[in-house]
């Protein structure tokens, strides 16, 4: 940002020298000094091949120049009119003791002025109108009530913003720039610049103006059909942690088992959300294609091969692969955003391909999505028919939010969660997570025995043990690996050394599903009896009656330690789980 500010003039000079720039006439009707935002907008647009020609309203005369005296504006004949107003331009905020009726009147009065502006522009010009909505006011004099009370300024601006949104939804000539959201993402304390306002009537910090100009340039690009359409992804250390060619698919970081894996999963979810709104995903990676594709078959990979429109994994230079992707998709590279954690690859792609966007995502996966978002690459001025049908395939959020309230009984609620579980014998892929769970689970843990990874590896090889892990998914997503049962065989008896579960899936009947599968495995091994142990600790009181609830008989209770021993006869056992679908094992 410092560079941008310092070198503004020479940047503009260099960018203006490019050939074939598309001139676009933009009138800015401002409620405060608008030069800085225009300067920055010019640089962003020039970088996108658009040469803006500006007309500024007289200082603060956004209403007069549009409604009362539009001659200059008409003579300028803009293609775009940008109305840049702020909370300071509101004529009258409701009084503190405002009534419902008065509140409506204040909203109407303010919206009425804007309606006049928009109508006058529509009548006199054939321009597209961009109106920014309002940031929240800098002070909430009523505290939290400011957003609630009819006399609260925050509430008033939220009401105005709702009116702006409704007006824009009805009118394709009117686009709203969401300054409310932009300012919130920056933070109001870094948004308003009172020294600059009192000195030069510039209301916002340079940081704020950069964000506004960037978003505005994206809107202008979208109006001219220049929004980006494709997200091209590198693989290793971009959408999963680790190098799949070296580490193997079972070692890459993805899923819920470690913080790093969680972060990569979150980034994949962000990419998938772009896919759902109509952005194409492509892969460009230096990898063996077959090995690279295995990453998408990892059980925890959010992105599947079906989401990828074009897959290039080979050892050719990336810029050549990107050009090949452009040919295959029949789209220009200037509609591409290329995401790669490797700065050397970013540099060569940026140097070799004019017009491609290569955000500097750094190398911390938790920041990737936010950095891509800041670029505002995928702006749309409306959601097309096609986008909407695609979106309709996915359940709406409101449906989910209403879920809990409408059930006759708990079983019906559990059914509505559409749970499915993968309950299988221990696998090398999950041993680390399994050992980790034994060490950190304290509440739903009947014996609280801790195991190291090495001990678990030994158990995996020891035929006396039956170890089961459980993963639970529901319609809201994957909860990951959350339950473990470990049985040790002695003749036809199975001692349950371990039974634990993560508290995030309490009261889902997951323990019944685990028991069903455990019994199945035990019977297959000709075991007649299960023996469970409860060893009380300060934290595991919630499972004192675990075995009782599962239908075990109590054999003994130690009067001092309160530990107990339980038995289940498998001869008469019938499956208990009613609400969780058990997925068929993939192999074996």
């Amino acid at each position: 940002m410092h560079e941008l500010l310092l070198k503004r003039k020479s940047l503009r000079r260099q960018l203006s020298a490019a050939e074939g720039l598309q001139p676009v006439r933009i009138a800015i009707l401002g409620g405060s000094t608008t030069n800085e935002v225009a300067d920055l907008l010019e640089i962003f647009l020039l970088a996108s091949g658009i040469q803006p020609v500006f007309h500024h309203s007289e200082y603060g005369r956004y209403y007069e120049d549009a409604v009362l005296d539009p001659a200059d504006l008409i003579a300028f004949n803009p293609a775009i009119v940008y109305l840049h107003t702020s909370y300071l331009n509101v004529q009258a905020v409701p009084p503190v003791d405002c009534s419902e009726q008065e509140f409506r009147k204040h909203v109407e009065a303010e919206i009425g002025r804007y309606r006049q502006i928009w109508e006058s522009i529509e009548r006199n010009l054939s321009a597209q109108i961009i109106q920014n909505n309002f940031e929240l006011p800098p002070f909430a004099v009523l505290g939290n009530l400011d957003a609630v009370s009819l006399g609260g300024t925050s509430r008033f601006f939220l009401a105005l913003n709702a009116e702006f949104a409704a007006a824009a939804a009805r009118n394709p000539r009117l686009l709203v720039q969401d300054i409310h959201g932009i300012s919130a993402r920056i933070g109001l304390s870094r948004w308003f610049d009172w020294d600059r306002y009192f000195s030069y009537k510039i209301l916002m910090t340079t940081e704020g103006n950069v964000a506004v100009a960037r978003s505005l340039s994206s809107l202008v690009r979208a109006i001219y059909g220049k929004s980006r359409k494709v997200l091209v992804l590198d693989l290793d250390n971009t959408i999963w942690g680790g190098v799949i060619g070296d580490d193997g698919v079972e070692k890459i970081q993805i899923g819920r088992e470690t913080p790093v894996a969680e972060a990569y999963t979150a980034f994949q979810e962000y990419c998938l959300s772009l896919h759902k709104r109509g952005i194409l995903l492509a892969v460009c990676s230096k990898n063996n294609e077959e090995v690279a594709k295995q990453g998408f078959e990892h059980p925890d990979s959010v992105l599947k091969l079906e989401h990828i429109s074009c897959f290039k994994a080979n050892w050719e230079p990336k810029h050549e692969n990107l050009l090949a992707i452009a040919r295959e998709l029949n789209l220009g590279v200037e509609s591409f955003v290329f995401v790669d954690d490797n700065p050397a690859e970013r540099a060569i792609v940026e140097a070799q391909i004019a017009g491609i966007a290569v955000p500097n995502i750094g190398n911390e996966v938790s920041r990737y999505a936010a950095i891509i978002e800041e670029g505002r690459y995928f702006e749309a001025i409306s959601m097309s028919e096609e986008d909407l049908t695609r979106a309709a395939l996915y359940r709406s959020n409101s449906e989910r939010a209403n879920l809990e309230v409408k059930f006759a009984n708990y079983g019906e609620y559990l059914d509505s969660l559409e749970m499915s579980a993968e309950i299988e014998r221990f696998k090398p892929l999950y041993l680390e997570r399994i050992a980790q769970l034994t060490n950190k689970t304290n509440q739903f843990n009947v014996t609280t025995r801790r195991y190291t990874l090495a001990e678990m590896e030994a158990i995996l090889r020891d035929e006396r043990y039956i170890g089961l892990y459980g993963k639970l998914s529901d319609r809201f997503g994957d909860n990951g690996l959350i339950s473990i049962v470990l049985g040790r065989r002695e003749l036809d008896l199975l001692h349950l050394d371990l039974w634990l579960m993560s508290c995030r899936v309490l009261k889902r009947d997951m323990e019944l599903a685990m028991l069903d599968v455990l019994v199945e495995n035990a019977r297959a091994a000709s075991i007649a009896t299960l023996r469970g142990y409860y060893l009380p600790t300060r934290k595991n009181g919630m499972v004192a009656d675990h075995y009782e609830k599962l239908g075990f008989e109590r054999d003994s209770l130690d009067p001092d330690s309160k530990s107990s021993v339980w038995t289940l006869d498998l001869q008469t056992y019938t499956p208990r789980n009613r609400h969780i679908r058990i997925l068929e094992p993939v192999h074996g």
Partner: protein, 80 residues
């Protein structure tokens, strides 16, 4: 050449896009081309960012030339 003056010259050259500009303690808005009210804002913001200082309201109005500005910057740096 004084180091602050040297750095200011570099900032002025960038902001005003005049690579050969010679800045002296006697330079002011009247004898430097394009030092108008708009570029003044850019200059001030760039200087504040460079030195991580903040000019107080009204402080800048009292300065008559670059020399005054350098003195004020030095005071601010010392108090940082």
């Amino acid at each position: 050449m004084d180091s602050v003056l040297e750095e200011l010259q570099s900032i002025f050259r960038d902001v005003l896009d005049q690579p050969n500009l010679k800045l002296t303690r006697e330079s002011n808005a009247d004898n430097v081309d394009d030092w108008d009210s708009l570029s003044h804002i850019n200059l001030v913001t760039s200087i504040e960012q460079r030195y991580r200082i903040k000019f107080a309201l009204g402080e800048l109005q009292e300065l008559k030339d670059v020399g005054d500005m350098i003195d004020l910057i030095n005071v601010k740096i010392a108090a940082r």
